[in-house]
Symmetry: C2
Subunit: 394 residues, 2 copies
């Protein structure tokens, strides 16, 4: 996939991952404008690169984003902060920009100190390719250009790279993302960078990103876990010379975020089902989303989905614990459009509904007559999920 | 195990379960006193027997408790309420007591109407045995007397029956329980009945039960799910003639509840590890319990425990989302007494800690210096959990 005008992307295999797979990437905004915005994990425990990026994007300007996979640089104390700063300093020096205009994103195991010699070799090789100079170190590292290579290099347990694009009138929006497991209320080990050659202020970008995240990344809840590293960055180079309306910018950025969120849901660790849980009939939209999330996180419900089991009783048992207004005697549930429960009572053919397909739709009406409505996208809980997540760090 | 004086217990195989295992039980308090108290599920969606029992125990008097396994009688609408009432009416009539002095507890699949002919046959057989009369129906059903048989008959996916006793000075406390999966903040498909021959008012029993539940059943959080049927009943016959102090009553009832909770944790569906998560160093005890619960419910953490993987980073990622005061840069974690993280940073040998045993202790200090402290008992997330829970209703 080609990047919007004004951006160049690089990737390399520095050697952070034991697997020998690509593990570093660099996205450079060559301008003429350097507008940026970002959203982050809501976790109280956050990684060093997240803290750094949050600070560096605060003024609405970013020139480059440095990525590494295979190491989250989280929970490494003061050393983690020092290493994150040293990494972006090296990039800034070689690209000739301010350190505070470089962001950093890391993903991988928590609690291992970054191998800085390896990191520096990767940075030197990618910056040399970007500036067409001879690398001062890491001369042996092969650098791949292009968005495809960057999307590959940020993968961890992802099975496929994730990219999306959307064309506006005279401008282009494109994005790469990774994320498969720890996705929850606010993203969780999800790294996304969206690039556009539109002319857009940081405020316009922030507006578009926040509204897109609300209905895309924030509706993903795979396992209830929320990462220390989630970061979604949007950058605008202005290279197309076209300044779209806020509405047009929102539409195109939303399209890219929605596609990336879909790809993440489909590639979630060990997933065999994609499940959309929608809630209606409660007081507010927030209550509806919270109720959908409560069901989406319920392991008994998730196991039933894995077994293609239309066990609607588990939906009721789960939703009854949700912090949402409901009439406990007037709850309805449908699976794939078939009503399986009405007035909190099963329908005659409820247990015969076919859930053998990959996509399952669950709609729950909480029976208050309220207009609150919301949804969450989740997955089943499978043997593979347990397998993948029971042997990670050792 | 023998029941305290004044109680008699019966069990039979009425035929509710397809497996042909015992599925009904009856506990009768023969007095001279009939004091009782109970605690229930906090779910908003509750089963018909729970609604009935909540009403019948409100006056502090119970003569008998009727149990069935294999069918939860939950989410069956008005029919469920009618059936629950009809069941306890039949018991009351045959025992010669008020309908409102009989409680009902059901456990099993949600959403199937009770097979009332089968239920009545079971009731008739058990009441005939209790009153030494000829049963009006169900003459073919064999009835077993004694607490062991009752503990067997209330099992669902439990692999072992659960009983406990504690002796006070001149009185005895004994209990039966079932519960393996849906245990959470407030019990979840946990049925427990505690009997004592002590002299105790409903207020004294309620005091003892609430204080015991707080540190026993309510600290169990196996999978975050909370049932529609959870009921814990305590009944006192006064047959010993001994009226213990509140402290003595609390101690003995706590001992029985603690043992039953231990047995439930050990028998949780698909469990291979028993994990105790303790939190210190936050502002209040409630915050500490909520933080422990947040970690105990985190699937990535639970999978790591299954894999005996000392992946402390997942503890930090999970606890960072807890609604508790913490210093994100000063969190400490220990596994089995070994400090694996200090000042939110891994210790050198953290990944070498041996978690291969069945019991794992996790202690998390949130670093605020506050005196809040609490714990939750949970289990790992195993292949067997997924297996058991992905094929239940169909």
């Amino acid at each position: 996939m080609s990047t919007p005008q004004g951006f160049s992307t690089y990737a390399t295999t520095a050697g952070i991952k034991a697997s020998g797979n690509p593990d570093m990437a660099l996205i450079i905004n060559n301008g003429p404008r350097y507008d940026a915005a970002a959203v982050f994990s809501r976790n109280k425990v956050v990684a060093s690169p997240l803290k750094l990026t949050r600070k560096h994007v605060a003024d609405g300007v970013l020139r480059a984003v440095l990525f590494n996979s295979g190491n989250a640089n989280a929970c490494n104390g003061a050393q983690g902060d020092v290493d994150a700063v040293a990494s972006v300093e090296a990039v800034a020096q070689q690209l000739g920009c301010a350190t505070t205009d470089v962001a950093a994103c890391s993903t991988g195991l928590i609690g291992d100190v970054l191998p800085m010699d390896t990191i520096h070799a990767g940075i030197d090789a990618m910056c040399a390719a970007a500036t067409a100079t001879t690398p001062t170190a890491g001369a042996q590292l092969h650098v791949n250009e292009g968005q495809d290579a960057a999307a590959q290099a940020i993968m961890t347990t992802d099975t496929v790279p994730k990219q999306a694009h959307s064309d506006g009138a005279g401008f282009r929006v494109s994005g790469i993302g990774k994320g498969v497991g720890m996705m929850a209320p606010s993203l969780a080990t999800m790294l996304v960078t969206v690039m556009t050659d539109a002319v857009a202020t940081p405020e316009a970008l922030s507006n578009a990103l926040n509204s897109a995240a609300f209905t895309t990344f924030n509706t993903l809840d795979i396992d209830g876990a929320t990462s220390t590293n989630d970061t979604v960055i949007v950058m605008a180079s202005g290279a197309s010379g076209v300044e779209p309306s806020q509405e047009e910018l929102n539409r195109t950025i939303h399209a890219v975020c929605a596609s990336l969120a879909d790809q993440m849901q489909a590639d979630a660790e060990g997933v065999t089902k994609r499940v959309r849980v929608e809630v209606t009939g409660t007081t507010t939209d927030d209550m509806a989303v919270e109720a959908a999330r409560t069901v989406a996180r319920d392991n008994l419900f998730k196991c039933a989905m894995f077994g293609s089991d239309p066990n609607w009783g588990r939906v009721l048992a789960a939703v009854g614990m949700a912090p949402a207004d409901m009439d406990p005697d007037n709850i309805s549930v449908s699976f794939n459009g078939h009503t399986v429960c009405r007035h909190t009572t099963g329908t005659p053919d409820a247990r015969a509904v076919d859930l053998s397909g990959t996509d399952i739709s669950v709609v729950i009406d909480l029976g208050t007559g309220g207009s609150g409505r919301g949804f969450v996208r989740t997955t089943d809980l499978s043997h593979s999920y347990v397998e993948i997540n029971s042997a990670y760090s050792t």
